[in-house]
Amino acid sequence: MSKIKMTAKVVSQEMIGTDIYSMWIQAEGIAAQTRAGQFVSVYTKDASKLLPRPISICEIDREAGTLRLVYRIAGGGTKEFSGYRAGDTVTVLGPLGNGFPEIAADRHAFLIGGGIGIPPMLELAKELHCEKTAVLGYRDAQLFLKEEFESYAKVVVATEDGSVGTKGNVLDAIREQGLTDSDSVILACGPTPMLRALKAFAAEHRIECWLSLEERMACGVGACLACVCQTGEVDAHSNVHNKRICKDGPVFEAGEVEL
């Protein structure tokens, strides 16, 4: 595998929720070697914004050589991306990080996404061949990507305002429906408080658990040491209790990291 920095063509751009956008880009070299859970660095055209924006990969179409990026407008950079239209160009670097692990066919995978952590779970839902339940946590009734998950997994929804599904967060939904047993494996992406709660839940019930973490990044390739997370053991590379989210992650076995 090798990382590629390239100028990709925007295939389509669509708003799928308040400030949530879905952009397909033509990026053969990257699409051919990307797996679920990896991410790309996306560069702005505004030269006053230096740093690439790390964005998770929502879907991969290897045949068409395209990637789908679903992102939330969080500032000027993502605002710029949301203005791109089909035919525009966008500079990307990827694939970055390591994806989710392979899950054996006799397991039951719980794909848990919270907010803008939902998108990377869609490609994972497509790729896994075991029994799958997607637990998706939203703010309100804007259930972006939910219907697409239904093609690949049983879907359970939690909303913060209680407008759809369980009122509360993904863990409330899991508890309410008694979703897990010892064959289960949790794979999750979302805000840190959610991941922290899942880590504790998985430890309590002795469930295998993989978490995709997020942090402010600069280089995206493991050189600058900006996006570290704390680890229980001394990491072989850093020789301290830190791992690099961009290079060693973003997916970690829950027991490995301190949240």
Binding site: L50, E215, R216, C219, V221, L225, A226, V228, H241, N242
Partner: protein
């Protein structure tokens, strides 16, 4: 045939382009994008006598035309560094400059002594990191302290030493002269400028460390000015850095008086920046019929 070689403290670099400490790891991550053998030198991330965990996150923030960082000199310690990173760099035809950090004079001395028998070409002594509470910048803002730490490190170092100076001072020439008086073989400048960013929505500091070092294209005019001032104040060779992203930027520093340049933050937005700058300098020399890159050094007075 153009000659791009430059010499710093008796060490000949094939060209004046180096990496800036802390932006390039020990080269491994960027070896996927550029041939390290094309570079004049690789300057490593700062290394201390023992492992340092660095600061809490968030450690970086973007600002207009630049960024702030407060990594806090996370490093694996000199033993792991010498066992793993030096052999990696030895596979390439480039010079190895090790950036050395410490909290006390003894820390710096410990590192340079342990590197004495290693195949390291130059040592860059970081007395200008704004992100650690002890050592770092504390040595770099007082001329007596600069001269003293320079003299102590020099007396224990087997390789030539480059003192890396802080721009967070009233007069850079005073610090450059202090390094020269202490026996430095070269100086490098500028390290980052201390900055701050506040998140108005969360009403908190953007960086966990509150302050961070500012780098990137926005600081370049300050760096060029300081390199020019230092070049006119001391006889030591100067390694110029601060916002270099293109060959044109690098040439400005050479003209201001730098013998070599370091490329830092640009690596984050252009992983191929270093080699593109090497090629751009060659093209500039051909365009203007400059046979020897040394003709450019300090040519604007």
């Amino acid at each position: 045939m153009i000659d791009t070689r430059v010499t710093i403290a008796g060490v000949e670099l094939k060209n004046p382009v180096m990496t800036a400490s802390g932006t390039f790891g020990s080269g491994e991550e960027y070896s996927e994008f550029v041939d390290l053998s094309r570079l004049g030198a690789v300057v490593t991330k700062g290394v201390a006598n023992v492992p340092w965990p660095g600061n809490p996150t968030p450690r970086v923030a973007e600002v207009y035309g630049g960024m702030l960082n407060a990594i806090g000199l996370q490093n694996p310690g000199v033993d792991v560094f010498a066992r793993r990173d030096i052999p990696f760099l030895k596979r390439y035809d480039t010079k190895i400059v090790v950036n050395v950090c410490g909290r006390t004079a003894e820390d710096y001395i410990d590192v340079v002594e342990r590197l004495g028998d290693e195949p390291v070409d130059l040592l860059e002594i970081n007395i200008s990191c704004p992100n650690v509470k002890e050592g770092g910048i504390a040595f770099g803002q007082d001329p007596k302290a600069v001269e003293d730490i320079t003299r102590q490190v020099k007396s224990h170092a087997r390789q030539p030493i480059i003192m890396k100076l802080s721009p967070n001072v009233t007069d850079i020439t005073v610090m450059a002269k202090a390094a020269e008086a202490g026996g430095a073989d070269a100086v490098s400048l500028i390290n980052t400028l201390t900055g701050m960013k506040i998140d108005i929505h969360k009403r908190t500091f953007t960086l966990a460390n509150k302050t961070g070092g500012m780098s990137g294209p926005a600081i370049k005019p300050i760096a060029v000015r300081m390199v020019y001032q230092a070049a006119n104040a001391v006889k030591l060779p100067i390694i110029g850095m601060g916002g270099i992203a293109t060959a044109e930027d690098a040439i400005e520093f050479l003209l201001a008086g730098a013998t070599a340049v370091s490329v830092g933050t640009a690596n984050f937005f252009n992983p191929c920046a270093t080699v593109e700058i090497v090629e751009g300098i060659e093209n500039y020399m051909k365009k203007y019929g400059i046979a020897d890159v040394k003709e450019l050094i300090g040519a604007v007075r």
